[in-house]
Structure formats: C-alpha cells, structure tokens
C-alpha cells in the first residue's frame, strides 16, 4: 500500500468522526428516555411489550378500522373492549403527550405528525 501511514491515520479519523455521537453519550444513562406512565392504571390495552413494539401499527389499524371500515370498537386480546379514539381513549390515561409520547420520539428522532390535527390534552388545557 502506498502512503500507508496517511491512509490508516485518515481511516481512524473518519471512524472517530462518524462515531462521535456514541463517544459523546458514552455511559450516560440520563439519555435513555423514561416515558411517564399513567400512575393509577396497571395496564395498557395490550401488554407492555406489544405496545412498545407495535403501538404505531395498532394506531394505524385503529384509523383504518374506525374511519374506513366503520368499526369503532377494539376488542383486545384479553377480551376487553375499547372505543377507538386517540383523544378520548388513549389520551385519557396518557394525559401528557410531552412526557409520554415525545420523550421517546425525540430520543429516536422520529416526528409523527399526529398532533398537527389531534389535540393533545395539555394543548387543549392551555387553549381554554
């Protein structure tokens, strides 16, 4: 290899540059989001694991079923029935979008546009 010294140094510099976020946050625990869960509720409509992995799919299915198929009731795996409505059902328990939704979404830099139409409880409160 020609100019081996320069090339290797440059490769090392590149690797360090692209992994800067990792090094800057190394060992920092406070960076991991801790969404605030509703205090008086023991469980969500499905298991914690299911909600964590599939809440976006569930919400999209809710939209499809309620708006497009006119099926407004969700029967959870445990047989419990829920009325499909983001503002009336989900946000009744998760009554703070900033502390629940945003804490994770900001961390993973994903910005779903739910709230440009749907009204978060804290936004509605300020509005009145």
């Amino acid at each position: 290899m020609y100019n081996a010294g320069k090339v290797i140094v440059f490769i090392v510099v590149l690797i360090v540059f692209f992994t800067i976020p990792m090094w800057l946050n190394f060992g920092r625990v406070e960076a991991i989001p801790q969404p605030e869960l509703p205090k008086d509720k023991a469980k969500c409509i499905e298991s914690k694991e299911y909600m964590r992995a599939y809440h976006m799919k569930l919400l999209d299915d809710w939209r499809k079923q309620a708006i497009r198929e006119n099926k407004h009731v969700y029967v959870a795996k445990d047989g419990e029935k829920y009325f499909i409505n983001l503002q009336k059902t989900c946000m009744k328990c998760h009554n703070n979008k900033e502390k629940f939704c945003d804490s994770c979404h900001n961390f993973v830099v994903t910005h779903p546009d739910c709230w440009s139409c749907h009204i978060a409880p804290e936004v509605a409160e300020k509005w009145q």
């Binding site: 006119n70 969700y74 029967v75 009325f83 009204i119 509605a124």
Partner: protein, 254 residues
Amino acid sequence: MAIKRRDLLKLGGLTLIGTAASAAVGGVYTKPQEALKGSRWALAIDVVKCKENRATCGLKCVEVCHSLHNVPSIPDKKKEIKWIWEEKFEHAFPEHEANHYLNEKLHDTPFLLLCNHCDNPPCVRVCPTKATFKREDGIVMMDYHRCIGCRFCMAACPYGARSFNWIDPRPFIAKVNPEYPSRMKGVVEKCTFCYERIAEGKIPACVEACPAKAIVFGDLKNPNDEINKILKERLAVRRKEELTTYPSVFYLIG
C-alpha cells in the same frame, strides 16, 4: 421414516411465519352496539319551519356543528372553512334563477347548505388517494390522514361543500372541543354527517341543535323510517338533480 430435508425446511419456514404473525396480531374490531344502523343516511331540511324560526333560532345548527368539530372562523372569505352554512335560494338553486315566480316565493327563505353525501359522489371519483370515499351507510367520509390537498374533490363537487385549509386553522378556533381533532394546513374538509356521533348512537349535531326541529335525520333505505314518510307527504327538492349525483339532503319547500 426419517423426516426429509425438504419437509424440515418447510416446517421451519412455517414456524417462523407463525411466530412473526402471532406476535404482530393484535385484537379484533367490531361495530359498537349502540351505533345507529342505516344503509343510506339522509337529511330532510324543512325550509318552511326554518324560515318561521330563523329570526329567533340564532343559527344554532351552524354554531353547534362548527364548535363541536373545531371548525375555524376565518374572516378572510377566500380562506374560510365551512361545514354547514346559510344561503339564499337563488344561490342554492341557481338553475331556477330564470323562474321568476319561484324565485319571488322563495328568495327570503333561508337554505342550509352542507355536504349532500351524494349517492354518486363526484368528489370520491376524482380523489387520487381515496382520502374521500363512500361508506356502506352512504356517508361520504374524509380520511384526513390520506388527504394530500390536491383539491380535485373541490373542483368536482358541484355544491361547494368542501373547504381547503390555506392556513393553519388553529389560531382561528376560539373555543376548542378537546374530544375532536382539528385539521391542518393543506387538507380539504367538509361535513361528515357526524359519523363519530352515529357510532355512539347519537343523531347528527345540527339535527339535535335545531330548536325548531326543522331538520330530520333518517335512513332512506328503511321504509319504516320517519324521513321516508315525510318525503312522501311533503314536496321535497334536492340541489342540482340534473347532475345525477343523487344528493341525500332534501329540502322540504312545500
């Protein structure tokens, strides 16, 4: 007999699919028991009653609908949003303008206009994303999530029942209903026949709000429904019948 390699691979594949599917499958969906059941929802607006009570009613139907659905009141006429509004006879029925006698009889009668929830809706035909579509109960629905704001539906609608959000509507909503969403800049909106109330077993808000009970809501396909009786007894017209859109909003003029 020992299992063949081919069968083993098939079994493995099936197991994988099964695991993935069982993890991703949630609950099931049904219709609420209390929901009103109909196959073609319609309104009959008694303009005679409407005229008699117009001086005192304060246009409650419009007020209640707009506040319930977070419809903004934008002062700029070019950007205004409306789901239900009042109009003069000659504007609601421009095809009768030349009929001087009819015009004279009805020109001071208020006509409440809203989405006609046509049986043959031109807006649905032109929507490129199926954001607007006809439900099996006759309601011409809006799925704002899919609306790309192309405004084809507005060009297609012969009734001007659709409004486009040219600006963010939120600053123009004085009092918010926290149980219903607003819309955002760039989508088209209109009356949805209170689908959310029908799902809860309630009649549309304008029908409930009218102090004169001048608006009747019912199912055209149900022969025992009150609306069919009224439409048989009274003289009812629909807007722009000649376009064969078959509106579901009837005006009882006599």
